[in-house]
């Protein structure tokens, strides 16, 4: 084991951008307030001074235009990183991402690839109400032609970007807003990581807790609490939301025979629904209980703290779901 240092998720993302910019002159960062302001979440703070205005490119509030420009630039030889402030704003760029980025390689019969990375913040928990708090990554994960990542650890925040930039496909990376301040150890020589496999974050035998992104810390906390109650919960971090690593999910459930999916998206038509369906298709005869889901309440995320807390998946809700499934005797 090499030496480690303590670093925040935010700083890890920044290091990843800096590293990519240094490695490849085709890489540039483009988005609203990424330069002078330093990034809405201060991810790109300091990079403008380091790399200049050409490569740390502030854009007007034109999500469609700069997302599309990222696609065009990728088609024309660059390796752009497009930052969209939040997934809610990305809906203004949905046409470009879904109708162009995801289709052109296929529509052109494989003549072109779009090596583009789009980063965006997602998720609730900061009392910024219903137009800044949603988790729509499941929508993107629905679309063939895109790859969708959700780094939930410091290591993945540091390592996923470069792998995504090396990928010939458009990759959308979702950074949960509540993770930016998370601090943790990172190997001094940390670098690119795989972006195809889910990761086992905690082994267990009684139930598989399948989650990703901002729900991972909550899920790990729930697993710890459950351990005190004699329930051994396994935690699977999806990491890659499209394509889903069905193999790892199924292997875990084949071991524990029970699954609770924790997904900050709404339940209806969600990633959690997709995972549940895959378990039916691939692990039906392994299941010892119906699959259970802990998702956001089916409401636009409200502003008051107590209501927002009630709307989002919580450690309590996860424990309740598991207890209902495991502890009925």
């Amino acid at each position: 084991m090499s030496e480690t240092r303590t670093i925040s998720y935010r700083d890890a993302v920044r290091e990843a951008i800096r590293d990519a910019m240094a490695r490849d002159p085709r890489v540039f960062l483009m988005g609203e307030d990424v330069g002078k302001y330093g990034g809405c979440y201060a991810v790109s703070k300091g990079l403008l001074d380091e790399f200049g205005e050409e490569r740390i490119r502030d854009t007007p509030l034109s999500e469609a235009a700069f997302a599309g420009a990222g696609i065009g630039a990728a088609l024309n030889g660059m390796r752009p990183i497009v930052e969209i402030m939040t997934v809610n704003f990305s809906l203004l760029a949905l046409d470009q991402i879904v109708n162009n980025a995801a289709t052109i390689p296929h529509m052109s019969g494989g003549q072109f690839a779009i090596p583009l990375v789009i980063r965006m913040a997602t998720g609730g928990g900061r009392q910024v109400a219903a137009q800044h708090s949603h988790s729509l990554e499941g929508w993107y994960a629905h679309v063939p032609g895109l790859k969708v990542l959700a780094p939930a650890t410091i290591e993945d925040a540091r390592g996923m970007l470069w792998t995504a930039l090396e990928d010939p496909n458009p990759v959308v990376i979702f950074e949960h807003v509540m993770l930016y301040n998370m601090e943790g150890p990172l190997a001094a020589d940390a670098g690119a990581v795989d972006i195809t496999k889910a990761a086992l974050r905690r082994p267990g035998t009684d139930v598989s807790l399948i989650t990703y992104g901002g729900s991972l810390p909550k899920t790990l906390a729930a697993a710890e609490r459950l351990a005190g109650q004699g329930v051994s919960a396994e935690v699977v971090d999806l990491r890659c939301l499209r394509p889903l690593d069905t193999e790892t999910i199924v292997a875990s459930v084949a071991k524990t025979h029970r699954a609770v999916i924790v997904d900050e998206g709404w339940k209806t038509g969600s990633l959690a629904a997709e995972i549940s369906a895959r378990l039916m298709e691939n692990a039906f005869y392994e299941l010892d209980a119906p699959v259970s889901r802990v998702c956001s309440a089916e409401v636009p995320i409200p502003y008051p703290k107590h209501l927002e807390d009630a709307a989002l998946p919580s450690v309590d809700a996860i424990c309740r779901a598991v207890t209902a499934m495991v502890a009925v005797r």
Binding site: F28, E54, R55, T59, P60, S62, A64, A65, F66, A67, G68, A69, G70, I71, G72, A73, A74, L75, N76, G77, M78, P80, L92, D95, Q96, N99, N100, I104, P105, H106, M107, S108, G109, G110, Q111, F112, A113, P115, P144, G145, K147, P168, N169, P243
Partner: protein, 331 residues
């Protein structure tokens, strides 16, 4: 004829080339309409007939390393840019030998060699791409131009305005060519725009803009050459509004309830092909037999293209899912 000069050289050979370019589009598309009724071509088929002067004139000004981005009414641009009629027709058939292996069809023509990037069927969706292409060229220090064709319907889209702003703000080498044929599908310009002077909209972003008779291929070529020269010299984007008219319906399944027959007949007296012929004849550029020679040559090209498409094969269903996720960036 060199393509990079900022003025057209009106030689007999060049004029014949322009004529042949327009006739090729006209006859090719007439054949497409026929094949559509025979169910050889399916889906949507949007014909460019009547607007040929714009694609043929504008393409004269572009160099091979430049990029072209067009709309779903792009057969004319594809042919004018040099995509061979055979692979283009095979694409309309949905055959493996099509320029996109048949996956795109009429509305989605792409070609790597021609640097032809669609075939974009979301109105306004191609403009941000053009901005990105130009941005990449600028950042990489390449003196290329990206030509982006769109109809006046796109002017109402947010993506149009965002792209105008971004291109002008960053002084990117984009040529925006608005083909104003007066109808966004069935909605007349005056029924959808508070300000119908489209060039004025571009100027409001600080972008130099010209309006040109889109039925006059020589005028289009001349104006485009001047604009491209400015762009290539690093003076930022330029905007062309080409006034034109489509002689055919919006697509094959269109009763044209939204416009008068008289209006169509009036515009057909400005047929760009006839206009060029008349002008050439008046000025002694069109000799006896020239027209027949052009028509014969084009007819043979179209016939060969249809035969090529007919002889094409269907992509095996096993390959359905290829090119959804790419394993490399094609070089």
């Amino acid at each position: 004829m060199t393509a990079t000069a900022d003025k057209p050289h009106l030689t007999r050979a060049h004029l014949l080339e322009l004529l042949r370019g327009m006739v090729r589009i006209r006859r090719f598309e007439e054949k497409c309409a026929e094949l559509y009724t025979q169910e050889k071509i399916r889906g949507f088929l949007h014909l460019y007939i009547g607007e040929e002067a714009i694609a043929v004139g504008a393409m004269q000004a572009l160099a091979p390393q430049d990029a072209v981005i067009a709309t779903y009414r792009e057969h004319g641009h594809a042919l004018a840019r040099g995509i061979a009629p055979g692979p283009l027709m095979a694409e309309m058939y949905g055959k493996l030998e099509g320029c996109c292996r048949g996956r795109g069809g009429s509305m989605h023509v792409f070609d790597r060699v021609a640097r032809f990037y669609g075939g974009n069927a979301i109105v306004g969706g191609g403009l941000p791409l053009a901005v990105g292409f130009a941005l990449a060229d600028r950042m990489a220090g390449r003196a290329n131009v990206t030509a982006c064709f769109f109809g006046e319907g796109a002017v109402a889209e947010g993506e149009f305005h965002e792209s105008m702003n971004l291109a002008a703000l960053w002084k990117l080498p984009v040529l925006f060519v608005c083909e104003n044929n007066l109808y966004a599908m069935g909605t007349a310009l005056a029924r959808s725009e508070s300000q119908t002077d489209i060039a004025l909209k571009a100027r409001s972003y600080g972008m130099p803009a010209d309006t040109v008779d889109g039925m006059n291929v020589v005028d289009v070529e001349a104006v485009t050459r001047a604009a491209v020269a400015e762009i290539r010299a690093g003076h930022g984007p330029r905007f062309l509004e080409c006034k034109t008219y489509r002689f055919r319906a919006h697509s094959m399944f269109d009763a044209q309830l939204y416009r008068d027959k008289a209006e169509i007949e009036q515009w057909m007296t400005h047929d760009p092909i006839e206009a060029l012929q008349t002008w050439m004849r008046l000025n002694g550029f069109l000799h006896d037999g020239d027209l027949d020679a052009v028509e014969t040559a084009v007819a043979e090209e179209v016939e060969t293209a249809v035969a090529f498409a007919e002889a094409g094969t269907w992509e095996p269903v096993e390959q359905l899912e290829s090119f959804v996720v790419m394993d490399r960036v094609p070089q």
